[in-house]
């Protein structure tokens, strides 16, 4: 295949290896937690997934603003790629949180402000992706989705602050002061690796979307050419 594709596959292999290594490190270095035992290890996937999702929606936000200012298609395509990754990561956060919640809280789900606002964030960006597939005209699609991307991002600080602003079942954010040493590095390393995974996925989706646009442009050209030859 093309050189960039080979490089992409190699990078993909490295990213997977990093992910496996970081997870093994987290699991191997942390003793059973005093209260919840080994359930604590879900922290190494649930929390990094949430942080990486916030970051992905941050990219959507910045790229949407840049698109509205500069009107460059690349900004729109990058925003769309980041939104796809953000939706997957938010879905993961919800699913993993639910799996963690059942044994610790006793319930899979409850409509507390943290869980509700996260679900709203998920739905907003699923809507963002749905909007993109409904609108065919590229510039109109880019403008509308930029508006949704910017407004949708406003929910991220609400999700983050929800545990401080309102009463929730979900605990407030942990810090190194509330987390003992054996768990801190496992969490940090996995957070960094999740961000690398996020960046990798966004890049691959972005490259794919550029190829997609090229194909569309060629098809349009060909359609015009055959039309012209008939006249």
């Amino acid at each position: 295949m093309t050189p960039s594709n080979d490089a992409g596959r190699l990078a993909g292999g490295v990213v997977v290896a990093l992910f496996v290594a970081a997870q093994l490190f987290g699991v191997a270095t942390s003793p059973a937690e005093a209260g919840m035992g080994h359930l604590q290890k879900i922290m190494y996937v649930h929390v990094p997934a949430a942080w990486a999702a916030f970051l992905a929606f941050g990219i959507v936000f910045i790229m949407s603003i840049l698109y509205l200012v500069r009107r460059r298609e690349s900004h729109d395509l990058l925003a769309a790629s980041a939104a796809q990754v953000g939706v997957v990561l938010t879905g993961l956060t919800l699913a993993l949180g639910s799996i963690w919640g059942r044994p610790t809280w006793g319930v899979w789900w409850t409509w507390d402000p943290r869980l509700t606002s996260t679900a709203v964030l998920f739905v907003i960006f699923v809507g963002y992706l749905a909007l993109r597939s409904f609108v065919d005209e590229p510039q109109q699609r880019a403008r509308w989705s930029a508006a949704v991307g910017i407004l949708g991002f406003l929910n991220v600080p609400i999700v983050y602050m929800s545990v401080r602003w309102w009463r929730t079942l979900h605990q407030p954010s942990s810090s190194p002061a509330t987390v003992d040493d054996p768990y801190v590095w496992g969490l940090r390393i996995n957070a960094v690796v999740f961000i690398i995974v996020m960046a990798y996925l966004i890049r691959r989706l972005y490259q794919a979307s550029i190829l997609q646009r090229k194909v569309e442009a060629l098809e349009e050209e060909r359609a015009l050419a055959t039309e012209g030859s008939h006249v």
Partner: protein
């Protein structure tokens, strides 16, 4: 879009109308966010009440579905392992309330931990819980030498079942 160059006057009108609609939509979303932030959730839609808050409701506190949150009062737990019947008190520092719940509590349930119960305050003054949730703090602690996390739960339920 393709018809815009052909009908410039009509297209311009359409554009203004669409822009108006966009502003309307954006405005509605912003007002919605603002309402959630400043009003709604903040005051009226409280996720759970403390025992003091529920008591302060007076007669309106009874026989209505609420979520109650507080700390499990140490040594108030009575567990009947045969009948799967659990009784304990929750408190918020000033008020304590008796809670009755059916079924085994979640693994993290123990003295001094925060819990949320869904149900209704019976006229007897005992809160009848249909759903018991344990609220985990943001602390993650390594166990002490020789301490096994699973023992905490078993100790609690076994000793209280005697």
């Amino acid at each position: 879009m393709s018809n815009e160059p052909q009908e410039p006057e009509n297209g311009g009108e359409k554009r203004t109308r669409r822009r108006g609609l966009t502003f309307l939509g954006v405005g509605a979303v912003l007002i919605g966010f603002g309402y959630l932030l400043l009003g709604g959730i903040g005051d009226n839609l409280v996720y759970y009440l403390t025992p003091s808050e529920l008591e302060a409701r007076g007669d309106a506190a009874y026989e209505t579905s609420v979520r109650l949150g507080g700390v499990v009062i140490p040594e108030s737990v009575q567990w009947d392992a045969d009948a799967l019947d659990l009784r304990f008190k929750v408190g918020d520092g000033t008020t304590e309330m008796e809670v009755h719940s059916k079924g085994a509590p979640p693994q993290m349930f123990r003295d001094g931990i925060e819990v949320l119960v869904e149900g209704r305050l019976a006229s007897s003054g005992v809160f009848q819980s249909t759903n018991l949730m344990v609220k985990h703090s943001n602390e993650y602690r390594a166990p002490e030498e020789g301490q096994r996390p699973q023992d905490l739960y078993q100790d609690l339920l076994n000793t209280e079942g005697e």
